[in-house]
């Protein structure tokens, strides 16, 4: 897939038409893409091929919305846009915001003010990411978010800023001379799964090549096996991905790897089941977990996590930080032998604690 996506059209709110972010983006936009100014009160654009530049009226920075009863990893989300240009079959945006345009917030000065104010109160290392509601880098050649984020966190070494992507779009990121605390992360899955269920995204090779380039530039990378799906031959397929990661980057360049199995709210299937007919991915043997989400049943998840722990240890070494996304203390204990306490995972991932939390031992 081409790593330089372009929108079909651009709509700009009148109030941000002259904002530096907007002017900067327009200067990089191919000339053949129609640009419209939206007046107050007129309808907002629809469809994710349209780029909508507007003002964020609310907060840019929030604690990552975790799930009740699971081990929190202390993550914050810094939202610079909403909606994703890709079409992953399992993505919640596809179901809850199918017609939303690719929205970018132009008032980045407000975002920076909010961020810096929050950072003053952080007495410890904090992990923050921009990839919760959008792909962090898919449109970076237009948004230059990586340059903005680089300058934002360069003077804040205690902030580990993560840009998460399924693209191979790292040109602007590399050109921004990113600080060491700007971590580039890739969501990964077996290539056959990506081809079928992650429409429009970069191939695994493209993602790993991009990760390799970032790591070669002396920066840290991260990987997210999320969602892990139990496709036929999943062990061999995921082992090949793990091997691919450590072919592309040295283990010491890996800031962290997360693993999370496919999960969704109970109502998801009731609401969308008929539309997903024929895609067995969503109709595997999911059972309700204590937080109300449907997940693979316990012994299978445990098997998956033990497999990943073993595979990553074997191919990357035991120093590669590994954590589970949205899993309970019991699962950490069962799969990794970690009896985690409040804050342990957070401290572990930010490098503030090792010792008893070293995985796999």
């Amino acid at each position: 897939m081409n790593s330089q996506l372009t929108p079909a059209a651009v709509v700009i709110d009148r109030g941000v038409a002259e904002a530096p972010f907007t002017r900067s983006l327009l200067s990089r936009l191919p000339k053949n893409i129609p640009v419209t100014i939206r007046e107050d009160g007129s309808p907002t654009p629809k469809g994710k091929r349209t780029l909508f530049i507007t003002r964020e009226q609310g907060s840019f920075l929030k604690k990552c919305p975790c799930s009740p009863g699971v081990v929190e990893c202390g993550y914050y989300v810094f939202t610079l846009g909403f909606q994703c240009p890709f079409a992953c079959s399992y993505c919640f945006l596809r179901f809850y915001a199918p017609d939303e345009p690719l929205t970018l917030y132009a008032n980045l000065e407000d975002a920076a003010l909010e961020f810096r104010a929050a950072a003053k109160g952080w007495k410890r290392r904090i992990r923050v990411g921009t990839g919760e509601f959008t792909d962090s880098l898919a449109l970076d050649h237009l948004t230059q978010h990586s340059a903005y984020l680089s300058e934002l966190v360069r003077p804040l070494p205690n902030v580990l800023m993560e840009v998460k992507t399924k693209s191979g779009n790292v040109e602007a990121l590399l050109a921004a001379d990113p600080p060491k605390n700007l971590i580039a992360a890739w969501s990964v899955n077996p290539p056959s799964f990506m081809a079928n269920d992650e429409g429009g995204t970069a191939t695994l090779d493209e993602r790993l090549r991009a990760a390799g380039r970032y790591a070669e530039a002396g920066r840290k990378v991260a990987f997210h096996f999320d969602p892990v799906v139990m496709v036929e031959g999943w062990r061999e397929k995921y082992l090949a991905v793990i091997a691919g990661i450590f072919d592309a980057v040295k283990p010491e360049a890996v800031a962290w790897i997360s693993v999370g199995t496919l999960r969704f709210p109970k109502r998801f299937i009731e609401e969308w089941g008929a539309k997903l007919s024929g895609n067995p991915l969503f109709f595997d043997e999911f059972v309700p977990s204590p937080d109300g989400k449907l997940r693979y049943f316990w012994p299978r998840r445990r098997e998956i996590y033990r497999f990943f722990a073993s595979g990553i240890k074997e191919l990357g070494g035991k120093e590669v930080p590994l954590y589970l996304c949205m899993e309970s203390n019991e699962m950490y204990s069962s799969a990794f032998g970690w009896p985690v306490s409040e804050g342990d995972v957070e401290n572990f991932l930010t490098g503030m604690a090792r010792g008893p939390l070293l995985p796999y031992d």
Binding site: I269, E270, G278, V287, F297, W298, S328
Partner: protein, 317 residues
Amino acid sequence: MAEAVGEIEQVLRSALALGGARYSFTLKGPEERNSLNDSLQRQGQLTPLLVVEDEGVLTVAAGSGRLAALTFGGVENIWVRRFLGSRIELWDRLLEEQLTGGPLNTGEVALYIKKRLADTGEDVKEFPLELLERLGLPPRHSALDDPLWIGSLEPPELFRYALGELPAKITRILMKAKRDDALAILRATRGMRLGANKIAEVVKCALECAWRDGISVSELLDSEELRAFEGDGEGFRAALRKLRYPTVTSWDEHFSEDVRALKLPDGVTVSHSPGFEGGRLRLTFAFSSFEELGGDIGEVSEMLSTGAFAGLEKYLG
């Protein structure tokens, strides 16, 4: 509303037409019908029927069941009161009368709305919100989606709802499915006695199996030979659950076998959480004396120390 009703009068039974098909929105089971017959035979007619003139014919709007019982008892002269108001007022009154006997169930609400709309020609979007509240629905028009869907079903499924055989909780699930799939499940469960949670499980399992395999529910029932299922509702539920969750049910079955093989003392049970979530088992002692408890604990402790529980280790952690 009292002024919309005439004086009590007596008319010949032969002058009355049954209006149940047009006006009745509650269904009585055999027990209720028998009880009504007994009551009328013992005490006679205590309350007049509500009648309305439909194209010159005196039609029973409320009391069709009583008229049937009176007819059964050979009564010739029937006490009635004529309704003189508008059609909408009539339907308001019918609801008011019915609610004195308790709230309507989901199917009765559906029947009421269906018949009221057919009779008055009202636009459902203009139903007063207060009416929705009287029907036991949230005061918003979208709350009519479920009863309208149920009302679109034909008998016997429509009547199964009205008789309370089908719970409201399955409606939203069925509404999201293709209509043919929804009907196939409802037809397959005719005559089965299942509680609300179990029938909801049947519905979900059937739909999700069909969706997983990319086929219709009818095709699923045919391919799995479940269309003319000969067992009871519980057997049907178990068969569908096994289709939907083959590994989980296999673990459940093995677990039961492993626990049985332990030959635990009476009153001592081992159970697991749904889906084995958490990797923990629960050991329960039921006892009627501390002496019994002490004996059971001793026996279980002995079993643990001799490794008798080793077969359960795979369910832990």
